[in-house]
Symmetry: C2
Subunit: 217 residues, 2 copies
DNA sequence: AGTAATTTTTAGTCTTGTCTAAAAATATTT
DNA sequence: AAATATTTTTAGACAAGACTAAAAATTACT
């Protein structure tokens, strides 16, 4: 049995080293989960004895295949619950993190999979992060919301979810095309709209449009 | 902050003494939550210092108004989640208890209330137990599933949810009327039908019919 | 390479919630 | 009402997870 606390460490290791494959430092983990280095050492020893992590003293930790899968499952649950909270319960996407942080620890594979079906197999959460499948795999493409506001991060428009005529006409009219480089400048909480910047201009896009733009970063 | 463990004790006290008003014994609680009497003593002392319980040594515990409300909230959450699992995720009503036992501890008043709205303000969970409202109150009437099979418990038919012509004709045809005494003899998991017994006869009713019959016990 | 700075680990302590075994209080029986 | 049985509480121990302070290892610097 993987405890709540163990799950949080697995998540941290997963996020800090590319999906847990790279070794991450004790200090990085401590900072990420807001604890102390000594606590981290204790826990990673425990994860190692449980075959969830590879650990060599003073050399950092990485996840075993088993650990990677366990971490991906927690992330899958987190993101599915976020979709539920936003799409079904009408939360706004900036309110759901703390609740999903609790829901992600509920244990029942049947529950995850039924929730997945109920939500009609979403591929991305409301923040634009991709949702791992049952085997822990996911596409590296993220929806536009993922670009944090005003950090200067940019992405390349590489996929549109809705390929209806009316949406493609919208893109045409606004001079947006696959391959364009996009940066997010501002987020308006009132209607969830975004101000974005391409190489040629600045514009405001609605929540509906944002949800259909996918970028590689 | 009320911890997970504290919530479980509050629930137990609430269930064992009529909504926590009557004093319940240490042993009864220990048995109910499958722990030891000494652990219970420790915890009820803690609940008392937190003003959630009234405790006099060797005299049992009851809940304070604050404790009663906290317990009712946990039960409200448990039963709402059960409705969600059965009505939205298509679980059968005998599979949902353990999952709801975890979900009931998720903290967010906003979540409970949005879930309540999403489920269209259900009054009873899939087992027939009434769902407390925001103030911890609920009707003492239970839907028929609550009568445990073959325990000899009986109730009086006192309310029908669906009052359409077609349902009332069904009741007429089958000689079921308000005031009738009803006992549940068997449950068929395949289609969730029940075998019931009135003072005059024995019959099988479908899940749909059962969901509309409410009894006072 | 040798010293200084940083990172990581160890050792020992604390809190929460649980347990066993023994002591104290209450209930029951005759 | 005394003796016995049962229930409840206390005392002390333990596991999980976190912390502080000190020791050990690694990395960085000159």
């Amino acid at each position: 049995m993987v405890t709540l606390s163990e799950e949080n460490y697995l998540k941290a290791i997963y996020h800090l080293g590319k999906q847990g494959k790279e070794a991450v430092s004790t200090n990085a983990i401590a900072e990420h989960i807001e604890s102390k280095a000594s606590s981290v050492t204790d826990m990673i020893k425990k994860l190692a004895t449980k075959n969830l992590a590879n650990y060599i003293k003073y050399q950092g930790v990485s996840l075993t295949e088993e650990g990677r899968l366990a971490a991906a499952l927690v992330i899958r649950k987190h993101r599915l619950w976020e979709v539920f909270l936003v799409n079904k319960l009408n939360f706004s996407w900036d309110e759901v993190h703390d609740i999903a942080e609790q829901l992600e620890h509920v244990k029942s594979l049947q529950l995850v999979n039924k929730l997945d079906a109920f939500l009609e197999y979403p591929t991305h959460d409301p923040h634009g992060d991709p949702i791992p499948d049952k085997d822990g795999n996911y596409s590296p493409i993220k929806s536009i919301n993922i670009l944090e506001i005003d950090t200067g991060k940019e992405g390349t428009l590489s996929f549109v979810k809705d390929s209806s005529d009316v949406f493609l006409r919208y893109l045409n009219k606004n001079n947006l095309a696959l391959g364009d480089t996009i940066k997010v400048l501002d987020f308006e909480p009132f209607d969830n709209s975004l101000t974005i910047e391409t190489t040629t201009k600045k514009m405001i896009i609605s929540k509906e449009v944002a949800q259909n733009l996918y970028l590689s970063v």
